[in-house]
């Protein structure tokens, strides 16, 4: 006897009330066990200890308007200090009437970079050419003068502008060096390889401070008499040498990720070594390591603060110097909080970008 039953699924029931909704969420995420509940309470207590006074100082009791120290109420931050010194923190001693040049340079940079972020944008190529070859010249002229613009000494550069200049020039200079070093390190020629490995390991093994010391104190002794560079240029040389070693390791990671078949296919097509590298391997490898490059940039951006050691007035040093101004005594906390905020915005922004890129490359890159 064959009885045929048809299948009618049970209705979906809602879960027991205490496992979903706000209560369920609380139970699962905050109070899942006695130990967890204790931890939650402890964390809440900590927050209660920290947050209200911090917010009070930062926002509620802070003074926002005024022009002198006398305008500031006690018990809160005195943001007037930042407001009054803002120009110096951004541009250092860059002459005030010329500051539009700095702004223009940054605007151009943003305009130039935007098309590079999109995927397969028709403007990508021209934008890249512009950023690589034209922009540096324009920016250099805007910053230092010439072609009818009043000259501005590099010793007058400072603040955030100097920080950005060091970071951007540092990374731009380190990239070609890093690529060469990475290729050298993977070379089959023992001498080349040894030279590159020694170079890389040397710079990676010493602290940046000593490198800056060296470039500021020793470099002049290495050069023939009478030849001397600007202090900023010397710092940049130090930074570039140092970063190119780190960059080399990043690029090497990319080169290693390219499958052997790509090298072989390029060989089989008769491409010579430089062509195979330039047309086939590097474009792929560099694309893979963009997140790594951004991370290096973040590290460099933070490290620019070390130029304080050799007396350049970057963002941090400008603020540090302003905190000893007799007219604004006792503003160091405000100053450092502001500096922290600026650095944090840049670094966090870049790290989010690099993480986003990493995710995109992961999903978008089929192999």
């Amino acid at each position: 006897m064959e009885t045929k039953t048809t299948f009618t699924p049970h209705p979906e029931l809602p879960p027991p009330a205490n496992t979903v909704g706000a209560v369920g969420w609380l139970r699962a995420n905050l109070f899942s066990s006695p130990a967890n509940s204790l931890l939650t309470l402890f964390a809440l207590y900590l927050l209660w200890l920290l947050l209200p006074p911090a917010l009070e100082w930062l926002l509620f009791k802070a003074t926002w308007s005024g022009t002198t120290r006398a305008d500031c109420a006690p018990g809160g931050a005195c943001w007037v200090f930042i407001k009054m010194r803002f120009g110096q923190f951004m541009y250092g001693f860059f002459p005030e009437p010329e500051r539009w040049r700095v702004n223009l340079a940054w605007i151009l940079a943003v305009l130039g970079i935007l098309p590079l972020l999109g995927k397969r944008n028709p403007l990508r190529l021209p934008a890249a050419v512009f950023m690589l070859f034209v922009y540096p010249l324009i920016a250099f002229v805007l910053f230092s003068g010439g072609f009818g613009l009043a000259p501005v000494e590099t010793s007058q550069w400072g603040g955030l502008m100097l920080t950005l200049v060091i970071a951007v020039v540092g990374i731009a200079g380190a990239l070609p060096g890093g690529i060469l070093l990475a290729l050298g390190r993977r070379s089959k020629m023992p001498v080349i390889k040894t030279i590159c490995v020694t170079f890389i390991e040397f710079w990676r093994g010493v602290p940046l401070i000593t490198v800056l010391f060296m470039s500021s104190v020793m470099l002049p002794l290495f050069l023939p008499e009478g030849m001397s560079f600007d202090k900023l240029l010397r710092a940049l040389i130090g930074v570039i040498l140092f970063q190119s070693a780190y960059m080399a390791e990043v690029v090497r990671g990319g080169l290693q990720a390219i499958p052997k078949g790509q090298y072989e296919a390029a060989d089989a097509l008769g491409l010579s070594y430089p062509k195979a590298m330039g047309l086939v391997i590097l474009p792929q490898a560099l694309k893979l390591v963009i997140p790594g490059i951004v991370n290096t940039l973040i590290a460099l951006f933070k490290d620019t603060s070390l130029v304080i050691i050799i007396g350049l007035f970057d963002l941090l040093n400008s603020i540090h110097a302003a905190t000893v101004d007799p007219n604004w005594l006792g503003m160091s906390t405000e100053g450092y909080v502001f500096a922290a905020l600026m650095f944090w915005l840049f670094c966090f922004g870049m790290s989010q970008y690099s993480q986003w890129l990493e995710r995109r490359l992961h999903t978008g890159h089929k192999r």
Partner: protein, 395 residues
């Protein structure tokens, strides 16, 4: 190889097209270029030094330094030599690096685990901590702690006083210093004996477990021995230990031990900053162990503790250790920021003050760089060795 009688070898190409020849030539040129640049710089340096009448050489290391140092782990007075200054600086650097590594590791592991906590609040707090502190330059953090926080501590006379033995003020944290009597030697001996005993006990417990399966609470018993035996000896030998309590005499606290604010802020900043990075390393290390491992261990009846200890941590550690080491290297290198707040580390004392007093830029900076390089190379050699050993196990 068997007696395969060789046919002819492939013909030799003309030498200018022979890649081997080309490679050799290229390498010779590269080497020559490197040597030439090096030689050129060396020559310039020689000429410059001669022209400017700067004395060179390492003779200055024997000269009297003549300046004081606020913190020295080995005895030092102004009449000691620059050579001694070097050692004082190196030890100060190693001190701050070692303490920084210790604290950053502890805090970093806690944060890394907290980041993965099932407790939403804890996980989010850890996340905010990590994203906040790793995106702010270390130097800024050092300044913040030194100039922004520790500068607001009370003056020496108004110290925060804990039971008249511990004092905190702008000059530092003063704690009592143990003064050991002669009989304290027995306590030390007893302590080492206790260590030996514990090791022995652990071996025995291990063997016993292997034989009978009975686990033994080695940890608690061992701890008991380690603490109890020296303590007992201490009382029996008539408590040969006294404390030198810091006391405010004249301008400063005298006696006791002090942690100067320069060290404290450097340490706090290094710890907080590095811990953020270590937390991320720990997190990714733990995440790298697949959830299946935990499930399998649970399914075998292993409880939470043994699962962590026997299954998860050994696997996570392999992922964690290499990047952790490079963080340790970073701590060592970052400790050079001490120079910015006047903590007397190697860079401050040697590449700073000594350089300035003697003018021996090349010598002092080279020595300093060589020291850091040596530390780095030492650690990375150890690391490679460790990795090799571990990867053997893999496959």
């Amino acid at each position: 190889m068997s007696t395969q009688q060789p046919g002819s070898l492939p013909s030799k190409p003309p030498f200018w097209n022979d890649p081997a020849v080309r490679a050799t030539v290229f390498q010779v040129i590269a080497l020559a270029a490197v040597l030439a640049v090096g030689g050129y710089l060396f020559h310039n340096t020689q000429v410059n030094l001669a022209n400017r009448g700067i004395a060179s050489g390492f003779g200055f290391l024997d000269q009297t330094a003549g300046f004081g140092i606020v913190q020295h782990l080995i005895p030092y007075t102004e009449t000691d030599s620059y050579g001694r200054v070097f050692w004082v600086g190196l030890l100060n650097t190693l001190l701050v690096a070692a303490l920084g590594i210790l604290f950053a590791t502890l805090l970093g592991f806690v944060l890394g685990v907290a980041r993965l906590s099932k407790n939403w609040l804890i996980a989010k707090i850890a996340l905010v901590y990590i994203e906040l502190f790793r995106n702010i330059p270390l130097l800024l953090q050092i300044f913040f702690w030194y100039f922004g926080v520790l500068r607001h501590l009370p003056a020496a006379r108004d110290s925060v006083n804990v039971g008249d033995v511990i004092f905190l003020n702008i000059r530092g944290l003063y704690i009592p210093r143990p003064v050991f009597g002669d009989a304290f030697l027995f306590v030390v001996i007893a302590f080492f004996a206790a260590i030996a005993g514990t090791v022995f006990l652990a071996r025995w417990a291990h063997r016993r477990q292997a034989e009978t399966g009975q686990p033994f609470h080695t940890f608690w018993v061992g701890l008991g021995i380690l603490v109890g035996v020296p303590l007992l000896t201490f009382f029996l030998s008539g408590m040969p230990l006294s404390w030198e309590v810091p006391k405010l005499t004249g301008f400063n606290f005298r006696g006791g031990m002090v942690m100067i604010p320069e060290l404290a802020s450097l340490l706090v900043a290094l710890t907080i900053y590095t811990a953020a990075f270590i937390a991320e390393i720990v997190r990714s290390g733990i995440l790298a162990v697949s959830h299946g491992q935990t499930e399998a261990a649970h399914a075998l009846g292993l409880q939470h503790g043994p699962t962590l200890r026997l299954v998860i941590i050994p696997q996570a550690m392999r992922v964690i250790i290499p990047p952790l080491t490079s963080q340790y290297l970073n701590v060592t290198k970052n400790s050079t920021l001490a120079a910015a707040i006047g903590y007397p580390d190697l860079v401050g004392l040697f590449a700073g003050t000594t350089l300035n007093q003697t003018g021996q830029a090349i010598e002092t900076i080279s020595i300093t760089m060589a020291v850091y390089l040596a530390i780095s190379l030492l650690i990375s050699t150890l690391m490679n060795w460790y990795n090799k050993r571990k990867s053997l196990v893999e496959r």
